[in-house]
Symmetry: C2
Subunit: 335 residues, 2 copies
């Protein structure tokens, strides 16, 4: 019996592992048709997003399959959350090398099932192929939001405060842990940080509650400063971050104590998947209530301002002593 | 100057080549936001489909980039057409190895631009990544159709006729040409067949006109018999194809004259991207009119029937002498 004959064919793979993930969404037709039907509720827009992750690029080749699946789904759900959309469904393009065993697929599907429960989404379509390359997982996520209410990047106003959910910097420090670059921190902190890198936590309970409060939003995937710069550019404003206000987890504080480039790591590290958003000072009470309802901390870290004459719409960081550091296009890696 | 610094970064690549493809669709936000908004017209469902193609698996690594782009888009548009949906928009996940030059991306985007014009669709989002593997292109296509009118696979009735658009077998013969396996056919026929393999022709002008006439439909991607079997299984019926009625192009007739496995190639070869559908005999006049309006031939090739007691819902092929050949699960490769 050869490997090829033991590994199920595409139809069998779909029937065994993926069709069960589609069983509760009528328009998915049990993955037995050429396409799916998805229609937003009356009075709603559909919000769509796609992001792919690739072994050796976005995750480690020996990462557990369930975590790979959940990461692929969650990076997309994070974008929907940042736009204020409620997730509904997703499609999946899976490219698998010949070295993948059926057990891997089973574990991958279990990961999806876990997160379908967690985020109340359904698989509605996809494509499975063999590839001579690495495992490649592309997800397209669908969400819905009241018509016209999507939270854009470009709506920030001068004087708006800048907020971020949760804590910043954990994922980039977690990657250092996984690479063996932080041997001196304690096991609990190491596990927490590595977990934050491996498995994003989309702020799905927070995002939809920001509709009507936030003027602009983005999820932190490229890094706090890089993503805030996207808000600046599309809103035609500058931003000032007060570095000492950037919320850090206890584990990140432990880790940063031994790092000489701590601030740079926190400000430029990616993969946090927190929501970075702007809101007017008048939204303060509403945000406190939203934070309580969602069970997710929200921290004010700075404010939006009109760019100085002749200066680009950009991000500046003020340190604890009140000094301003102008950031170049190259970002914080050269800080 | 290293290769890495000459090749544009992701944001530059998007701004230069992909944002122009999104400029006419308001909900794409110029590809400058985290997600896109797409909402079907009032009284319509959204129909969604994703398919990926991979270099060395679905196309030849040295295929021109514009053809790769167009094939990736068209295999998805073909599914929408088979479901009766009018295409609107698509998203794109592009994984590129380091060997890809900027010129390749420019040519790829030109291919997309050509087909956006041809099929009136717009790019509304996507993701670009580097990969240690081959070029991988995943497309998710969006179409719309009057609410509840999608043409499913499972709606065929006993007594329905089976129809197919265009001609069958060209693509699989074209692949043989490209592999150098058909050195004796003339250049014109070789070019026609190779072109049919390289660039599918989604029947976008035909599909939406089949709504209300066709009882079941699928696009021919796995092969005529394999795809008809999908209709059989979901419709719980058997099908009989009259082999001599399967429409062949003049080039395919030339090519088949020298092939010993001609019928098998035509019946089991994939990648035709024609629409295979069923319709009651009463639809004959309507179908003639639809064929004329779409400018696409439609040929009756058989009929649907109740499975014999104890027999599975399957496809049988009747040859020119009237003999029935029972087809096994293994398909026509063992014919």
């Amino acid at each position: 019996v050869t490997k090829a004959s033991r590994f199920p064919g595409e139809f069998e793979l779909i029937a065994r592992y993926f069709a069960p993930l589609a069983s509760e969404f009528p328009g998915a037709y049990g993955l037995l048709d050429d396409a799916a039907v998805i229609t937003p509720s009356a009075g709603c827009d559909l919000v769509v997003k796609t992001d792919a992750i690739i072994a050796g690029v976005h995750f480690l080749p020996d990462d557990p399959a369930d975590l790979v699946a959940r990461k692929a789904l969650r990076v997309n759900l994070s974008d929907l959350a940042a736009k204020g959309a409620q997730p509904i469904a997703y499609m999946l393009d899976l490219a698998l090398p010949a070295t993948i065993e059926e057990d891997w697929v089973a574990e991958f599907a279990r990961g999806l099932a876990t997160d379908q429960e967690e985020y109340r989404v359904h698989l509605i379509g996809g494509d499975t192929n063999s590839t001579p390359g690495p495992v490649t997982v592309a997800v397209m996520a669908f969400g819905e939001i009241a018509t016209g209410r999507i939270i854009r990047r470009g709506g920030a106003q001068a004087g708006d405060r800048i907020f971020v959910s949760g804590t910043i910097g954990d994922a980039t420090l977690g990657l250092r842990v996984l690479r063996g670059q932080m041997p001196h921190i304690d096991v609990a902190a190491a596990q927490f940080l590595a977990g934050r890198y491996r498995l994003p936590l989309p702020r799905a309970t927070l995002g939809p509650r920001l509709v009507g409060l936030a003027t602009a939003a983005i999820d932190v995937s490229d890094g706090l400063v890089a993503d805030l710069r996207h808000i600046c550019e599309t809103s035609h404003l500058a931003a000032i971050i007060e570095a000492q206000r950037v919320p850090l987890s206890p584990a990140a504080r432990v880790a940063l104590a031994s790092e000489t480039d701590g601030l740079a790591a926190v400000l430029s590290g990616g993969d946090d998947y927190e929501i970075l958003f702007t809101a007017p000072p008048s939204a303060a009470d509403g945000l406190a209530e939203v934070s309580r309802l969602a069970g997710i901390p929200i921290t004010a870290i700075g404010h939006m301002t009109t760019p100085s004459p002749g200066m680009p719409a950009d991000v500046q960081v003020r340190d604890a002593s009140g000094n301003l550091f102008a950031l170049g296009r190259e970002g914080w890696t050269h800080f």
